[in-house]
Amino acid sequence: MSLPGKRRARALGRAGLAGLIGLGLGQIALADAGRAFVGCPVYRDTNSGRKSGCWLAIDPSSGIRYDISLGRTKPQIGREVLVEGRLQSASDSSKSPVEHPPCGGVVLTPVVVSVLSSICPVFMLPAEGYTGRRFVLDPKVVLAPADVIEKLPPPPYRARTWWIEFTYGSDFLQYQYSEIILDEIGRYIRASHPRDVEVIGYAVTQPRMISGRQIAESPQVARQRAEMVALALSRLGATPSVLHVTWRDNPAPLTHQAGLAEASRRRVDIRLSY
């Protein structure tokens, strides 16, 4: 067996998928119903440049080790994580070569990683021959420097809705995600002067059983999220007279894609009307 072949077999074997080696990875993806589990993250130090490390976590219900590195939020070693995601589709090899898992785990993408308050053992792995991923900055998630003259959207303006998703239990506006949306909303507000900017925060308080844990958000998180987004919008030009801030529990998901539906319920909706 060639070295890459050995590596692939080793990764899949460790992940508990040895029996599936005979199947095409596309078939695995087709069979994917999404994954949600609570696990203890392990950092693999692949040392392929800045931000190149790998994050792995084992789903206790299957024993499979997943590569959760492609989440927008990275784990904190020593703190459990809630992982929600789907297996990488066979057609999406842009972020990770399907044939040669770069981190030594089954790749989840898209994947949402939430850092929990519960602690777990600190564990780090050496590279063990895995390359990790060289960090490549996606220009779509980078805002222009402050001194670049902004371009406001041209008319006509119409009622619009945006949403910003959050990780479990958190009101933190995630870097290189939230500000892209907020910046767009801010420019739209400054250009169009809407009559009403409605900010609705949501929390998912309905309990779910995941990995034997009851997972449910505090109702207070809905308010915290709404107020955080409202504060951001006020600093981007939304005046107090047009900002209306409310919060609710348990919204409908924005997507019904396996593994991501629940994550999309943890959000704030922003509606502009005229």
């Binding site: 800045r50 931000k51 990275k74 904190q76 070693i77 020593g78 805002l143 995630q174 290189q176 600093r235």
Partner: protein, 507 residues
């Protein structure tokens, strides 16, 4: 033994230094008092030169006033407008790159037997209640260059409203006696937390007040806007970010350091800000490397005055590109072997600073963002503003200089126990109970996650103002490098340490 050429260059340079010292000593008025060379006494009515060179341990630091010479008569930066005889210049001495070094402080104590206003009881001693004529009462200033910063407890918003802190605070070790003092302590009628910090240089402020992007990635929020100017607050003023503008900084300093309790006039405020925002400080000559402003190299303060602030390190404007000319392969026959070797070392130091990755761990303000803990990155990950090494975002980060267990032992500093209340999240890496010598940014925000965060500061002219870090825990440039090596397990070789030290000394 330096070569003839090197000695000639050194003699020429020192002559230039002496000329500029003489120029700076010229009097605007005949009644100006005599004073020791270098130390700037308030109300001395001297001319502040457009450019002055001062020798330091590794070379020469140049202080540039971009507006030309200044007649300091009546200028509030140089005038003792408070109750204790100090002026702004007292703690922002040109000889020390507009900060003040322990060496200068020790000399001043010896020369005045502790009577210089810089040793004022209010903050130039370990506690105002101590006998002020004893050097031991000023030990933190004389050994670490630390002034007492008395922060209100509970913390207050910039407009004076109390903040409900997320943590309680106890004094575990009151090394100075001030935190348990009945008048000045935490249990006094006006509860205060006394922490001890180095004065930041009043220089290169164009960079300190610049921001690179509208959003602060550490909070996810857009930067707040100053309603008076419509400009956003950059968030990089002061170790604990307690002031947002240069005007607020001046008001804070006038009250707490000069004991000026009445407001200054609008004209005086303008004069203070106008003067300090024209000051640029950087090393301009290195005893080993030679001129830092020749052969295509753009060190020194003039380049700082000319450049755009708030620029993020990147492929088009790389960190420390000022010294890129030293990376040329063609050997200059005019250089001595020692000079060439030094310059090559600086170039290696820059490469290491920008490109050598290591695991950054448990650092609130960095790992607490969605980068993860650990995250692999470089020195320039945090020191990312070109030309100064500050942060283009508000730079409050906990490197571990004040929080245990990472801080170096410091039995001469106070030690606090901060306990995060149950209804709030604990510190992201240190848990619900944190021991710290200085809660830092948390004394401004009241938040657990901000305990021990200290604003990243300007790295230019650093050789002129030891000791380093906000609590003076690094006495030398080597101490700085060694701290990072220990803190992040970088595993620096002796050569790498030397390269980084050499980089620091030419800034």
């Amino acid at each position: 033994m330096p070569s003839t050429r090197a000695r000639h260059a050194l003699i020429t340079l020192l002559a230039a230094v002496c000329v500029s010292c003489l120029a700076s000593a010229s009097q605007a008025g005949e009644s100006a008092p005599q004073e020791p060379a270098g130390w700037w006494v308030p109300d001395s009515n001297r001319i502040f030169p457009e450019r002055a060179n001062y020798p330091d341990a590794t070379g020469i630091v140049t202080v540039l006033h971009a507006g030309g010479p200044v007649d300091t008569r009546g200028n509030p930066f140089f005038t003792s407008i408070g109750e204790n005889g100090r002026a702004c210049v007292t703690c922002h001495q040109p000889t020390d790159g507009m900060s003040v070094s322990v060496k200068s402080l020790d000399a001043r104590w010896a020369a005045t037997h502790g009577k210089d206003p810089i040793f004022a009881a209010t903050d130039g001693s370990n506690c105002p209640s101590l006998p002020q004529d004893e050097a031991s009462s000023h030990s933190l200033l004389l050994t670490r260059g630390l002034f007492r910063i008395a922060r209100p407890w509970p913390p207050r918003t910039p407009d004076g409203h109390p903040i409900a802190p997320q943590f309680t605070i106890e004094v575990m070790h009151d090394a100075t006696g001030c935190n348990l003092d009945p008048i000045y302590g935490l249990k006094s009628a006006h509860p205060m937390v006394s922490v001890f910090r180095r004065p930041r240089p009043a220089a290169n402020l164009k960079y300190v007040t610049a921001y690179g992007f509208v959003f602060d990635p550490k909070t996810g929020l857009p930067l707040a806007i100053d309603p008076r100017t419509g400009l956003r607050y950059a968030g990089n003023l002061m170790a604990d970010g307690r002031v947002r503008t240069l005007q607020e900084q001046a008001i804070d300093a006038l009250r707490s350091h000069l004991q000026r309790y009445a407001p200054v006039s609008a004209r005086q405020m303008r004069e203070i800000i106008d003067f300090e925002t024209r000051i640029y400080v950087a090393q301009s000559y290195d005893f080993a490397g030679g001129s830092l402003t020749a052969d295509g190299v753009q060190g020194g303060p003039d380049a700082l005055a000319a450049a755009k602030p708030g620029v993020l390190d990147g492929p088009y404007d790389a960190q420390w590109a000022e010294f890129a000319a030293w990376a040329k392969d063609d050997h200059d026959p005019q250089l001595t072997a020692a000079q060439s070797a030094f310059r090559a070392s600086v170039v290696r130091g820059i490469d290491f600073f920008r490109n050598h990755t290591f695991l950054i761990t448990d650092s609130a303000g960095l790992n607490s963002m969605n980068f993860g803990n650990p995250t692999r990155n470089t020195c320039s990950f945090c020191h990312n503003m070109t030309r100064t090494g500050m942060d283009v975002a508000p730079g409050q980060v906990d490197l571990g200089t004040t929080n245990l267990p990472f801080a170096d032992p410091a039995p001469d500093l106070p030690l606090f126990k901060l306990t995060c209340k149950q209804q709030y999240p604990p510190h992201p890496f240190l848990g619900r109970v944190v021991y710290t010598h200085d809660p830092g940014y948390a004394l401004t925000t009241g938040k657990c996650e901000d305990i021990g965060k200290i604003t990243i500061q300007d790295m230019r002219g650093i050789a002129a103002r030891p000791p380093y870090f906000s609590n003076g825990s690094a006495h030398t440039l080597r101490d700085i490098v060694n701290f990072y090596d220990r803190r992040y397990h970088i595993g620096l070789t002796e050569q790498q340490k030397t390269d980084l030290i050499n980089l620091l000394r030419v800034l």
